[in-house]
Each structure stands twice: as C-alpha cells, then as structure tokens.
C-alpha cells in the first residue's frame, strides 16, 4: 500500500507540527508514506469564492502529484471533501476520479481503512472536540445532530484510545465555528461571533484543550482564545493520536 501524504497549504506554512505528527503516526502504523514535494493547495479558496475556473491550475497540479498513490491521506476534512467533490482535470479525468475515490481524511483512514484497534498515546487533559462541518456533514465522520440515525463518531472512537484523555460534553455538538474560508474575513463580524460562541461552549465545560480534525477551524478558535488571553490551547487530533504534542 503506497500512501501519498497531502498537507494543506496553510498547515505546511503555519502548523508544520501537525503535518509531522500525521506523517509520524502513519509511519508508526507501518505504512510507506510519500510526501510529494511539489504540492500546494486543493483549490478550495478560489472555488468557494465563486471562481472554480481559477482553481484549475491547482486541480491539474493536484492530479499530477497524487494520481500514483493507492491512498491519499490528509489531516483536513475540509480539503479532502473539496477534492472529493470538486477536483476536475479535463486532461486526466481518470486520474482525478481515482484520487477522488482514494482520498481520506486522517481519522476515517485510521478507522475505516487501517481499522486500528489501539494506539500508543497518552494525553492527561480535559479535551473538547470540535467537529468541523465538512468532515461532519460532508464526510460523515460522526452522527449528525440533524438526522435521525445511530450514534457514532470516528474521531471519538480514536480519542477514546488515548490514555487519560477526558472528552468533555458540549451543548451544541456539531455547530459551525464560523471559519468558513474567505467567510472569516468577508463576514468578519458573524464569523467572530460564531467562533466566540463555540469557544464559550468548550470553556463552559472546562476544556483545557480544544482539538479537531481541521487546523483552519482551530486556527480561528485559537485566534479568539489568544485575543481573550485564555489559557486554553488548541491542538490538532493528529498530535494527540501521535502522542507528540509538546
């Protein structure tokens, strides 16, 4: 099994420790992981702004970088969903299709493909889990609060394997944090208010850390926490599962 690691552009630039944790975790699980050196972005910022046409260059580059792998894994539900739903490559449609059927968000890759049963990780803290919307309602990483269906949570299943980690409950288990890509600046007031309300839910339940599968949402929540001078920290789920959070 040859795995291609897709690291979203903003993680590459701002949160290298998240990418390192993802890589180390996959390697610890015995996988042969490649990081294609010429990768950039999934194209979502342009597409979500109404300009899919300006994402074509990104799409072609993405196809070129990842077509050769059995699986493509990424520590971001949002970028993975974007590729799954919107990757277009007119010159290489079969390759693009292959990628779309083979790309996985980290947590679902661990639970559905690797089907791991245990992890060597400890995190002795009270942790709030923020489920990001694209992972939740796009990739169905856990049961959605709006639907009448069986309860399950792939990230929750994984976090339960971590020793001494206490997962706190939330009043609104899958409310959007308000990041929303360019929404975070074009609708700054609503975005921040949504983020403040999410943070408050975690604080109210005594979270020491807020974790999640998308660093973009966590970056937004972190920005609010820092501005509020809160001691609460954000940490990507890959860092917890890898046991590498320092």
């Amino acid at each position: 099994m040859k795995v291609g690691l897709f690291i979203p552009c903003y993680v590459d630039q701002f949160y290298p420790q998240v990418a390192i944790a993802t890589l180390q975790l996959l390697e610890k699980l015995g996988l042969d992981v490649d990081y294609p050196l010429n990768q950039t972005c999934c194209g979502q910022p342009m597409a979500n702004s109404g300009f899919e046409k300006y994402a074509k260059g990104c799409d072609a580059l993405f196809t070129k970088n990842f077509a050769q792998y059995d699986y493509i894994v990424s520590p971001s539900g949002s970028c993975v969903l974007h590729v799954k739903e919107h990757l277009h490559d007119d010159k290489n449609p079969a390759e693009a299709k292959h990628i779309q059927s083979r790309i996985y968000e980290l947590c679902e890759f661990l639970t559905d493909i690797l089907q791991i049963k245990d992890l060597d990780a400890r995190f002795p803290h009270k942790v709030g889990f923020h489920i990001s919307c694209h992972g939740q309602r796009g990739l169905h990483l856990s049961q959605m609060s709006e639907l009448v269906a069986e309860d399950f949570s792939k990230p929750g299943y994984l976090l339960n394997m971590v020793k001494d980690l206490e997962l706190i409950p939330l009043n609104r288990k899958d409310e959007c944090c308000g990041f929303g890509g360019t929404f975070c600046v074009s609708e700054e007031a609503v975005s921040v208010k949504m983020g403040k309300d999410r943070v408050q839910d975690h604080l109210q339940h005594q979270a020491e850390y807020i974790t999640g599968g998308d660093m973009s949402c966590l970056m937004h929540l972190e920005g609010i926490l820092r501005r509020q001078k809160s001691p609460v920290k954000v940490v990507h789920i890959a860092e917890i599962l890898n046991g590498s959070y320092a």
Partner: protein
C-alpha cells in the same frame, strides 16, 4: 410601508450592525436554537423520519417534473368547485388582480393572514398606495406591521423583537398599559383588537400551503386560526399561491402535514390545518396562481429543486449565520439559507451577496424536510455569480492571483517563506486591525521558521 425600513447595504454590513448589540444577538440565537432543538425531539418521536423526508422529496420531484399538467388539473377541479381562478405571471400582475377584485366589491379594508407570497410581491405596499387598508392578522405579522418592518422570518415574523418592544408598540397603537410586557396580557389585547377587524372586514386574503390537483381544494396551516376567522367571516376570500405549492393527491397531505409543523416549530401538527374546497353560500372564493420567477428557476438545472420548499423555516432556525445576523440582514422577503438560493433567481445583482452569507456548513440541507441540497446550491450560485460578473472585481482579481500562485509550487514556496518572515519581523503589520480583518478580533497564528516541507527535506528525505 416596507420602504421606510431601509436595509443597510449588504448582508455582512447589516450583520455587523445586528451584532453591535451582542446581548440581543445571544438572545436571538438562543430563541432559534431552542426551536431547532424542539424540532430534533419531534423528529425522533415518529418512526421513519428520514423515509418521510425522502418520500416528500420524491413527491415534489414528480410535481416539478409535471407541473404544467398538475396545474391544469388543479385549475379544472377548482373551477368545477366554484372557485374563481386567476393566473399571474409576476408580482405586478398578482397585485393588480387582487386590487381589481377588491375594487369590484367596493371594499376599503381587509384582513390578511400569513402569506410569504404576498410579502414577495409587496402586496401590502401596493394596496396601501391604492388606498386600501390591510390588517395582517397573524400576531407576529401584526407586530412587524405596526413597527413598519418586513417579517424577519417566514414562520416567526417578529422573532427579532423582544416582548418589551412589542409592549411598547402595543402601548402606542393598541393602547395597552405603558411598560406592560406580559405575553398573555399583550396577546389578549391583540386578540380583542383583531377580533374587531375580523368582524368588520368584507374581504380576507390568505396564503396557501398545499393545493391539491385531484380535488381542486387547498390547505392553509396556521397556529392562530386567523386564516379561518378571516375567510369565514368575509364575503370574499382571495387565496394567493406560488405555482409550486401543488401536490398531486389529498393523501399526500399525510406526508406533508406531518413534516411541516415538526420541521417548523417541533409541533406534531399546526393547530389549524384548514381545507378549503369551495365558497360557502353567498361567498366568493378567488385563487391567484403566481409564477413570479418560478418557471425561470424551474429551468435552472442546478437550482430547480429549491421549488420543493414548503416554507417550514427549519433551515433558517438551524443556520448559525442567520441566528447571528437576523432576518433583515438578508434584504429579501425570504431570509436565511433558502432565501439565499431563491433570491439570486429574482435579481442576481441585488442579491449577489446572499449565497456568500454562509459557511457552507450544511446543517440547512440536513434539516430540510423535502431534502433540498441547500448548501450545495449556495456553492453553485457562487459559481454562477462569479461567472456572470456579480462578484466584486477586487475579490475576483485576488482570487485570480491566488489561483496562479497556488498552481506554481516554486512561487507558492517563495510567497509562503517571505510571508512568514514578514510576519515574524513585522508582527504589528499582520496584526494591524485596520488592514487585516482577521486581526480585528482574533490574533494571527505565530509563524514558524520552517514549513513542513523544509522540515521534511532536512529530516526525512536523506533517509529515503
């Protein structure tokens, strides 16, 4: 009347104004979330909720695919029942038809129960300009009418008003005690006030929730019974409906009536589900079938199924953006996510901001009782608006530049490195609140010295 309530520019600006009173925003959010939670509980109390949604969606799919036939069948049966049927191509025609009926009877004042279609057509303004006094009889609608505002929500028209504000309005207009805000007291005052209006009105306008092709009858759902009070007491009843309100059979009501109130408010059913088939003796019943952009929307492959909407408001209640920006920020008769996919069909230029008033979180799609893929349509409207030139040029240019940069790995790495270096050397610039909207209320992430790729080349590549 509605024109007096001027909405400031676009959604983002109006939302910012709404959020200046954070305590009110918190209360607004909680009030709507309470209804969302009531809806969740109600959906779990009957078997096969998800199957019911799917069934409703498919019935509407069939309706939209055969709308012409169903409309003709409906008209024929309605005519046979003795209902006078009118067809209106747009809002202006609709308003003209209604005015003509009113004037033919020499009527100066009338009562109207809730109808989002008449809001969409701005009927009240039009009738007032023509010297007709319109009294909205839905309590919430009466409140916003007295406040000279449009409804901020399709099911809960005055959800943005606190009881104290309602008390003040009633003190001014209905003579209730100054400072009184007890809901029971205020409701009783409204009831007495409206009763007099019902008794003295010769004409009643209602909306239509469902029109049944096989019977030529229609159903109006209310919780206050105000549609019935108006229609039964008046000599003339005019029902106004969008052409998409058709359902094929009476038995389909067993699906839609179960979905409607549960989705809207978490009630098992609306207090009144009134079935109208024919005028009572000595009465006249008119039905106005209105297109007003619907057949254009029906022709849009990516957006036609927005016409499945039964106006329950569930997507509005669950929308985290709506709850924190208020209905008026959408500057369209129908607010929230469903409004944001209907409004651009009516006027792309005017409503180009609305599909962007969303994080695309997808909660709207999940609560929709007829399974409209609302958030996907928001995304697709963005593409249409971008293509048609309705996205601001500055945004277009920056996206074009960003697209080129991100398609080129070398440029991306240079930009990333220099960006991080700038942020480290000049943190004040990145955190400048005036220049960077991110930083107004949020800190910037601390830029690391090396990217993941730098680390990878140093630590991993040599071992390969």
């Amino acid at each position: 009347m509605h024109n007096e309530h001027i909405i400031p520019t676009d959604h983002a600006t109006a939302a910012e104004v709404f959020l200046q009173d954070e305590e009110r925003a918190n209360w607004h959010d909680k009030a709507l979330w309470f209804i969302r939670e009531k809806r969740d509980v109600a959906t779990k109390q009957i078997p096969d909720w998800e199957l019911l949604r799917e069934t409703a969606s498919q019935i509407k799919q069939n309706v939209l695919g055969n709308l012409d036939n169903y409309l003709e069948q409906f008209e024929q049966n309605a005519l046979q029942n003795g209902i006078k049927v009118h067809w209106a191509a747009d809002a202006a025609e609709h308003n003209q038809i209604v005015l003509n009926i009113i004037q033919q009877h020499g009527i100066q004042k009338l009562v109207k129960s809730k109808s989002m279609l008449t809001e969409e057509c701005h009927l009240n303004d039009y009738l007032l300009e023509n010297g007709i006094d319109v009294i909205d009889t839905d309590l919430g609608e009466r409140v916003v009418q007295l406040a000279k505002e449009p409804p901020s929500h399709i099911v809960l028209p005055c959800i943005h008003k606190r009881k104290e504000e309602v008390g003040e309005l009633f003190h001014i207009h209905l003579g209730t005690e100054k400072g009184a805000s007890d809901p029971a007291y205020l409701t009783e005052a409204a009831r007495q006030h409206l009763r007099e209006k019902f008794l003295t009105s010769d004409l009643a306008i209602t909306g239509v929730n469902f029109a049944i092709a096989e019977t030529g009858g229609f159903v109006v759902c209310t919780n206050e019974g105000n549609a019935d009070m108006g229609a039964h007491l008046a000599k003339v009843h005019i029902a106004c409906m969008g052409i998409e309100k058709i359902i094929p059979k009476a038995e389909n009501l067993g699906v839609f009536l179960r979905l409607l109130a549960r989705s809207a408010t978490g009630q098992p059913i609306t207090t009144y589900s009134s079935h109208f088939h024919r005028p009572a003796k000595g009465q006249e019943m008119h039905l106005v079938l209105v297109d007003n952009g619907r057949s254009v929307q029906l022709g849009r492959k990516d957006f036609y199924n927005s016409l499945k909407c039964i106006r329950c408001g569930a997507c509005i209640n669950t929308c985290p953006v709506y709850r924190r920006s208020g209905g008026h920020s959408y500057h369209y008769a129908i607010s929230g996510p469903i409004g944001a996919i209907l409004a651009p069909n009516m006027d792309m230029r005017k409503n180009a901001d609305l599909p962007f008033a969303s994080t695309l979180c997808g909660s709207c799609t999940n609560v929709c009782p007829v399974k409209i893929d609302i958030h996907n349509q928001l995304y697709k409207w963005r593409q249409v608006l971008g293509e048609e030139g309705y996205v601001p040029a500055t945004k277009k240019q920056s996206m074009k530049a960003m697209g080129s940069l991100l398609a080129n790995p070398t440029l991306y790495r240079i930009a990333g490195k220099s960006g991080r270096t700038m942020m480290r050397l000049l943190p004040g610039l990145a955190n400048n609140k005036a220049m960077n909207p991110w930083a107004k209320q949020r800190d910037m992430p601390a830029p690391p010295k090396e990217s993941f790729r730098d680390w990878y080349l140093k630590n991993k590549k040599q071992h390969d």
